[in-house]
């Protein structure tokens, strides 16, 4: 048995990620084409929307049928495609491998999500969570602080971006008729998001400046207080709806938009953690005093890391607002922060890969278990709990998959 598993492992680990994604693309295409014809005879009704997890949760009798469906639609095409394309991808010049991955990834989610609105919504949430988790990882993982302010920063980004877009492009009771021509919308949306992110980065100064003198538990409370302050501020601003919330945001955060923003964010933060500043942040985590002795400018690094992290959290908030079309202060409370923690620590600290895995896994689980109703909130803690007990350091920590690794520190070859 063990040798069998090892055999499988050795075959699987050699396959580059591009091949898997291509396989998934093909599988999604097959599902779009023949999904219904396979699902109906199996008694599943229509194509299962989230890999059949909902079917399995709702009626356990359908589990074998769902597994058959998954094998036929996903497992076989993915493995065959991965196996077939592996030699081709290995021969590909390395500068083409990243574009290929991105194109294949977008193609895959486009085809897979194209089936219905719900899948698109799930994908949007997954990407937003990836941004949230990776940006939290900058502070809590790479810099070793314990910031509980994700919810607060997200709220700042969401509200600032929403106010800008609603003021500019929507007929609103408070802000009056739109002041900008609708044709500018696609150009103004990124600007609104960035302004939201900058607002969030400014709010991060509230946490960053106290962090010069303290860390750990006290900083946790400072960030917690910032979350409460932000939430309470928005609750008291009657102009933007107060506790009732703020609505009518244009739904501009479509799947490609969210995808591109996530990509840019992850790319930027990946580069940051392997930059000199990022290495300084790791130095602060390991030993702040020693880092300072080694001429690391800890204050500058703290400010930059906190602000960068909050910036992307704010962007995630802005995207969230324009996916939902409605936000209220209660959305961004302690629960949001707890979710971010679950995604981050389950996925693994100090690893962009880990954060992505954690975010995808958690969000997918949260959506798939939705038919359970309130029991969902008993199941999710138990699952996260089991993972944490089994792997206290998270699923993937302190290492990266190849495609996210950045080659650094290689001196140019001297001739």
């Amino acid at each position: 048995m063990r040798s069998f598993i090892q055999e499988i492992r050795s075959r699987v680990t050699g396959i580059p990620i591009q091949a898997w994604v291509l396989g998934f693309l093909v599988a999604a295409a097959i599902e779009r084409l023949v999904g219904d014809t396979i699902a109906v005879p199996l008694g599943l009704g229509t194509v299962p929307r989230l890999f059949g997890v909902r079917h399995m949760v709702k009626s356990p009798l359908l589990i074998p049928n769902t597994i058959v469906y998954l094998l036929v639609i996903y497992f076989v095409p993915i493995s065959v495609m991965a196996w077939l394309t592996r030699p081709l991808i290995k021969r590909l010049p390395s500068r083409l491998s990243m574009p290929l991955l991105l194109v294949a990834l977008y193609g895959a989610i486009h085809v897979w999500g194209g089936l219905d609105e719900y899948r698109i919504l799930v994908l949007q949430f997954i990407f937003i969570s990836i941004l949230l988790t990776v940006s939290l990882n900058l502070v809590n993982g790479y810099m070793g602080e314990f910031s509980c302010a994700s919810g607060g920063f997200m709220a700042v980004g969401a509200y600032v971006a929403s106010v800008l877009t609603v003021w500019g492009f929507v007929h609103d009771d408070v802000f009056g008729p739109p002041v900008l021509p609708p044709a500018l919308g696609p150009f103004a949306f990124p600007i609104a998001l960035i302004v939201g992110g900058l607002g969030s980065a400014l709010a991060a100064l509230l946490v960053a400046i106290p962090s010069f003198r303290t860390r750990g538990d006290y900083l946790a409370v400072i960030s917690l207080a910032v979350t409460f302050i932000v939430k309470s501020t928005f609750e008291n601003l009657e102009v933007i709806g107060g506790p009732r919330g703020f609505m009518n945001q244009p739904r501009w955060a479509s799947l490609p938009v969210v995808f591109v923003w996530t990509l840019v964010g992850v790319w930027m933060m990946r580069n940051y953690v392997s930059s000199i500043l990022g290495k300084g942040a790791t130095g602060i985590r390991d030993d702040e005093t020693a880092a300072e002795v080694m001429t690391v400018n800890t204050r500058r690094i703290k400010v930059v890391t906190f602000m960068l992290s909050a910036f992307w959290t704010g962007i995630a908030g802005g995207l969230f607002a324009h996916v939902m079309g409605y936000i209220n202060p209660a959305t961004f409370g302690i629960m949001k922060t707890a979710e971010c923690f679950a995604m981050l620590y389950m996925g693994g600290l100090n690893s962009i890969t880990g954060s992505i895995v954690g975010a995808v896994f958690y969000q997918f689980m949260a959506e798939a278990l939705r038919p359970l109703g309130i029991v969902k909130w008993m199941t999710i803690p138990v699952i996260v709990f089991a993972f944490m007990l089994r792997r206290p350091w998270g699923l993937i920590s302190f290492r990266e998959f190849g495609f996210l690794r950045k080659e650094v520190g290689r001196a140019p070859a001297s001739d």
Partner: protein, 309 residues
Amino acid sequence: MTLTGFFRYFASALQWGSFYALIAIGYSMVYGVLMLYNFAHGDIFMAGSYIGLFLCGALLAISAGGLISMPAWLILILTIVGAMIGTSIVGVLVERLAYKPLRNAPRASAAVTGMMLGLLMETANLWGLGAERRNFPSLIETTVYNIGGVSITNTKIMVVGVALAVMYILHLFVHRTKVGLAMRGCAYDFPIVPLMGVPMDFIASATFVLGSSAAAIAGVLFCISYPVLEPYMGMLIGWKAFIAAILGGRGSIIGAVFGGYLLGFIEIFVAAIFPSTLRDLIAYSIALLILTFRPLGFFGEPYSAQLRL
């Protein structure tokens, strides 16, 4: 604000400060001994209230059924003692399930398991008992004393008195007994103390028993003063008490008491002077300012310990 108004708010602040202080003690003790945040502590407080509610209901039913007739004060004492025992069991279970397996893991992971266990407790309560608010039976009749124009209810006096007594007993326990000595040893040097033959598991459990008992007392007292229970009551008060514990200084019992009363005073007086919707905003801004200028809280000791990450 008139003088009588001031004293009325003062009494409320003392009462709320007592709740915060009793819960903050639990955070602080666990922190001091095990160096971790017990993020499930707010829900332990919630469990204490519910255990108190059911126990009190049962005792009242027994008493009314004529089986054994008990006076109200006896029921109250039995309720508090029973809630302490029940909540201690919950607390020790939380420690054994969520924290003990992760004692050598990153502290943040333990924080996440604690948080998840807390969420599980809240949802289990919501699922098992329903979302409706429950009323705590009134055990003691409210008498209003009028002292120089300031009216103070007997519940307020009782809450503050019991809270202060409990704090004093805890202080004595930590400073006069052998277990307390071991606890202080752990707070002083966590890795060395087990090497000296101190049973770490027992000390950890004892810490949770003490913290949970304090939370149970806070829970029953809270229910007597504000007789409405709901599943999410632990979350809000728990997080506030956590802030109070850190304001006072990490891992210090006196600090936790001080922080609890400080938070109580800030909240009540802010609500008295400003519109009540601004209460959280101003209260937390003050907390933020305090921590900005006193980064170690009021009674915290400077430390060089790193996060165990």
